[in-house]
């Protein structure tokens, strides 16, 4: 039975250095994107598919540039971002508050649990036509559509987190003289925070989804409207330009969210080591 060789002998590859590895990941990522764009462009250039259907990277680039130059796109982005953020903040605040309240009122939790489940299982997008009927084509309809999605996500996650507080910690806190209020703010809330953040991450994506769906259905501004109206006028490049902008907005949203999360949850082992 040979003794296992010392770590030095394992000849650890350069990948072990995180900086080197990160650079490689970045380069590979760029190559993947470039390859996809190249295949897309080539498909059109070699006449395999008519650009009427799939446009082309060059055409989309031109479209993006002209829309940016005219300032029209930025206006639409601003509208969509504004709607999504309002929906996100309002729904999250109310959802978290409702979750914490239900955690403290087990009776009402029992009463409402199946109703919440039923509402949460309903494909809320189906409500959009009704919401538009009620609130018109303005910002309110978008916010309400997103609200029906995001509120329940935060409610369910916060409730789950608040009901999962470590019993030892609760007992010790009570015996040390913590009031119910202390328990809520200093024990339940921080303990539920990882759950709440999981909800917030999801909620941000869903507020954008709710807003976009409502814009596509009935609107005269915003990214959803850009995508819908471009498609209606057979402007495929316009559709792709809208989609790419939307992807950028969504990515930015989640990047900011991850920053906040890393800051507030730095006590979590997985996040500090990342």
């Amino acid at each position: 039975m040979a003794v296992v060789s010392a770590p030095d002998d394992l000849g650890l590859p350069a990948e072990a250095d995180p900086a080197v590895r990160y650079r490689r990941v970045l380069i590979a990522r760029l190559i993947v994107v470039a390859a996809v764009l190249a295949v897309w462009q080539a498909t059109v250039d070699f006449g395999l598919v008519d650009p009427f259907w799939i446009s082309s990277p060059v055409l989309v680039g031109k479209e993006l540039w002209s829309e940016l130059a005219s300032g029209a796109l930025l206006g639409d982005v601003a509208i969509t971002v504004f709607e999504a953020l309002i929906a996100f903040v309002v729904s999250s605040t109310l959802g978290i508050a409702a979750g914490l309240l239900l955690a403290r009122a087990p009776f009402w939790d029992d009463v409402l649990a199946p109703l919440v489940l039923a509402l949460n299982s309903l494909p809320r997008v189906a409500l959009a036509p009704l919401i538009i009927l009620w609130f018109g084509i303005g910002i309110t309809a978008k916010v309400v559509t997103a609200f029906t999605l995001v509120f329940f996500i935060l409610l369910v996650n916060t409730l789950g987190g608040a009901k999962n507080v470590d019993n030892d910690i609760l007992t010790i806190a009570r015996l040390m003289g913590a009031s119910e209020r202390d328990i809520l703010w200093k024990v339940t809330l921080p303990s539920a925070l990882p759950w709440i953040f999981a909800g917030l991450n999801l909620g941000l994506t869903y507020s954008l989804l709710g807003v976009i769906v409502a814009e596509i259905l009935a609107s005269n501004q915003g990214l959803g409207y850009v995508i819908q109206s471009s498609a209606a006028t057979f402007n495929t490049a316009g559709v792709f330009a809208g989609l790419i902008t939307l992807a950028l907005v969504a990515w930015l949203f989640s990047a900011v969210m991850r920053l906040i999360e890393a800051r507030l949850l730095r006590w979590k082992p997985s996040l500090t080591s990342a």
């Binding site: 470590d166 010790i172 806190a173 015996l175 003289g177 202390d182 921080p190 303990s191 006590w267 082992p269």
Partner: protein, 261 residues
């Protein structure tokens, strides 16, 4: 026996658990004893004889089925807020640093200079360099040190210890027992201590209460007449007086544990 007044008094305590759909379980019955002010009394006994339950009754977390618990001559009714409580599990809040964990009790009591007090206690348990560390960055022994600091920092009226060092490896346990006594010597708070570990019980206590097998009853109250401050546990364990006491308690306990087996 009690020259000093009883700080904690248990009078004819009986506890019956009624698990749903199963036979009721009598955890203990007719348990009466005193913990004199400023002393450490340990409870040893077979598993399931209601040791931890007695602590829960003194802290007011649980009402006894029969009998009465008193602290400072007044019956316990409802959860007490003047108790230092330690378990085998550290109960640290993972979202707070070591320092903030020690501060918690002071914070909810609105103690003004809580930061200084918490720092001082971390220093006393040898963790001043780890004040900013989170739970996952500390070893099990360090977490339990934080628990000791947290427990003493609020200057509790009484201390209830439920196998606080039970989850530690044996070397760390010896160190923590020594630390605990060192800290205790300075304030001499009244302690009710539950343990499986006979060495630990003798090393720490003024009196060891040996409980019978379930339903737990007071089998004997053995006074530990070893001078304080005590020798470190490893040294004390080889002293002849210690061995005499050990064999005496073990003789009482052996039969009870055997019944349980």
């Amino acid at each position: 026996m009690p020259q000093t007044p009883a700080k904690i008094r248990l009078v004819d305590i009986g506890i019956v658990f009624r698990p749903r759909g199963r036979e009721p379980v009598v955890a203990c019955r007719d348990v009466s004893f005193d913990v004199p002010e400023g002393s450490i009394v340990s409870i040893v006994g077979p598993s399931g004889c209601g040791k931890s339950t007695l602590l829960n009754i003194v802290s007011g977390l649980l009402a006894p089925s029969r009998g009465l618990a008193e602290v400072d001559g007044r019956p316990v009714s409802g959860i007490r807020h003047d108790v230092g409580y330690m378990f085998a599990r550290d109960g640290m809040m993972p979202w707070r640093t070591a320092l903030q964990n020690v501060e918690f009790g002071l914070e909810v009591r609105n103690v003004a200079n809580r930061r200084e007090i918490a720092h001082e206690w971390l220093r006393r348990v040898g963790l001043d360099k780890f004040a900013g560390h989170y739970r996952h960055e500390l070893s099990q022994g360090m977490r339990q040190r934080v628990a000791v600091a947290r427990t003493f920092a609020i200057e509790p009226n009484i201390l209830l210890m439920d196998e606080p060092f039970g989850a530690l490896d044996s070397q760390t346990r010896l160190l923590l027992q020594e630390l605990f006594l060192e800290v205790w010597e300075k304030s001499k708070r009244t302690v009710l201590f539950v343990t499986h570990d006979l060495h630990e019980a003798i090393f720490l206590s003024d009196v060891v209460m040996v409980s019978t097998n379930r339903p737990g009853r007071v089998k004997s109250m053995v006074p530990i007449d070893l001078p304080r401050p005590r020798l470190p546990p490893a040294e004390l364990a080889v002293a002849p007086e210690f061995r005499d006491i050990y064999s005496r308690i073990w003789a009482d306990l052996k039969d009870e544990v055997r019944k349980f087996e």
